[in-house]
């Protein structure tokens, strides 16, 4: 459904991605793992339209979307939870959620009520400024905000970075309920065991290339180690 074809990306002179082929099937959970600076975030930014590419480098249901702007990509049903949450400080929690729902695809399941049912704490904090919340609560807002557009694909960048283990558990507990709606989920995750436990398929990225891919069941610890750190490690 969502595919990248020999996707490359660079920041000025610095090449960050060297030909990435990735595909996401409807309703699937795909994890992207890799060390810091491997290109995981760049990959998501390229798919979501924050970075523009040649049109054919990213396709959605066969249509090239690589050159579209981020707002146009969202309208096609691909929503993003950015790294660092990026809540709008001038907006309350509820306004942050509502702005995510300003572009809605059809009458999907996600509304303020269903997001509050998913993360009940947000209902209590709904009138607070988004940035007054704890990191974990902010991540919940960021996820809820992305869900409000009823996406077909939810891209989550660094979903657990900087969060306490108990909070990470709560956030991962929400994943199955998000997938029940039929949305595919792509998570970028540093915590390898966590990623392997939830994903249908895993991509390991190193220095801008995919070094390993497959279902978690077929991936050995050594293979991950080699893909993550390179053969020298």
């Amino acid at each position: 459904m969502l595919q990248t074809h020999a996707l490359t990306a660079s920041y000025g002179q610095f090449k960050a991605l060297f030909g990435i082929d990735l595909h996401v099937a409807p309703g699937e959970c795909v994890a992207i793992i890799g060390a810091n600076g491997a290109g995981k975030t760049t990959l998501l930014r390229s798919i979501s339209g924050v970075l523009r590419n040649a049109p054919g480098m990213v396709t959605h249901r066969g249509t090239p979307i690589g050159a579209l702007s981020a707002d146009a990509v969202l309208q096609r049903g691909i929503a993003m939870v950015p790294e660092g949450r990026k809540l709008f400080p001038s907006l309350t929690v509820e306004e942050n959620l509502m702005i995510g729902g300003q572009v809605r695809r059809g009458d999907g399941r996600w509304t303020l009520d269903t997001v509050y049912a998913l993360f009940p704490i947000l209902r209590e904090r709904r009138l607070s400024p988004g940035t007054a919340l704890s990191g974990g609560q902010q991540q919940m807002v960021a996820i809820g905000r992305a869900l409000m557009s009823n996406p077909e694909v939810l891209l989550c960048d660094e979903i657990s970075l900087g969060l306490a283990p108990v909070v990470i558990r709560d956030i991962y507990a929400a994943l199955p309920r998000i997938r029940e709606t039929g949305a595919a989920v792509v998570i970028v995750e540093q915590d390898i065991s966590r990623a392997l436990s939830v994903a249908d398929r895993v991509y390991c990225v190193m220095e801008g290339r995919v070094t390993l891919t497959g279902a978690p069941a077929g991936i050995t610890r050594d293979a991950v180690h080699a893909a993550y750190f390179g053969n020298a490690a």
Binding site: S48, G49, V50, S69, A70, D71, L74, Q75, A79, M80, P82, K86, F88, P89, S90, L91, E95, M98, I99, G100, Q102, V103, R145, S149
Partner: protein, 287 residues
């Protein structure tokens, strides 16, 4: 009683300055753009109202009603075609472009409308006044002040009560993340500038009915507007109203002491506020 009268007249004059400043405050608050052509745009709007009035024979209020959508479209277009191209991390390019726009507007108006002074005639309303007990105030200054309050109130409602306002605030916070929410920052900015031009139309209406105008007076209006915005705190709309009022009162009090001190007293008040509160009276929490 003379001092009370002076202060009331100053407050009402502040309404005009707040009207000058509202559009500037709006644009700065949303896209961090200091529009150096703002004063010339007010004068341009006044000329447009004049042209409408002369062509249709309508009174200036109805003329402004016709000019407002035209000026919205003009602002939208200028933002889309010119200003959006230069907005970015560096604040210098948009500053230079609006400076250029200011000069082009002044010379364009000089070419088309000549250097002659013009005025929007409002008939008997110009000299009508109302007795409020200790002071007597002109209907026109009262109307100006009331319009300023309504403009600021309306902008605040849009900002904090509508989906458009949410998009304004989100884009102002972080345009990249806003685009991930399906917002197109370029089009949000264009709507904001269009809206600013509607406030400019209202400012131009009262400017043109209160005093003479010609193509050269824009920069001085910009200074008053700019000072009102800075005193109030960048991006705070109610602060802008207060800023206008402070300058207005300072000017009338200064003029009361010595007529030559009117303009100077306004600038001194501005400097005094900057000295005590460098970020203005109501600075935004996030900047």
């Amino acid at each position: 009683m003379i001092w009370l009268d002076t202060i009331v007249q100053g407050l009402l004059l502040g309404g005009l300055y707040a009207l000058f400043a509202a559009g500037l405050s709006l644009v700065f608050g949303i896209m961090r753009l200091v529009n150096l052509a703002h004063g010339d745009l007010i004068v341009f709007a006044a000329f447009l109202i004049l042209v409408v009035v002369q062509m249709t024979g309508l009174n200036p209020f109805l003329g402004a009603l016709i000019a407002a959508p035209l000026l919205f479209a003009f602002g939208w277009l200028v933002q889309r075609v010119v200003l959006n191209r230069v907005l970015g991390k560096d604040i210098l390019p948009p500053l230079l472009v609006t400076f250029g726009l200011s000069i082009a507007l002044q010379n364009g108006m000089l070419e088309v409308f000549s250097a002659d002074s013009q005025r929007l005639r409002a008939g008997p309303l110009e000299s009508a006044s109302v007795d409020l007990g200790p002071v007597t105030v002109g209907i026109m200054p009262l109307l100006t002040f009331a319009s300023a309050v309504m403009v600021i109130f309306a902008l605040n409602q849009i900002f904090y009560r509508t989906a458009l306002g949410r998009a304004f605030r989100a884009t102002s916070d972080d345009p990249v993340t806003a685009s991930l929410m399906g917002i197109n920052p370029a089009s949000v900015f264009a709507i904001a500038t269009g809206l600013a031009m509607v406030t400019v139309t209202i400012a131009a209406l009262f400017l043109g009915m209160r005093s003479n105008f010609d193509p050269s007076i824009g920069p001085a209006r910009l200074i008053f507007a700019f000072e009102a915005v800075i005193i109030g705190g960048l991006g705070s709309l109610w602060g802008t109203l207060l800023g206008g009022a402070i300058i207005g009162v300072a000017q009338t009090v200064g003029a009361q002491i010595n007529p030559e001190w009117q303009i100077l007293a306004g600038h001194l008040a501005f400097l005094a506020v900057l000295l005590v509160r460098p970020r203005g009276l109501f600075p935004r929490a996030v900047d």
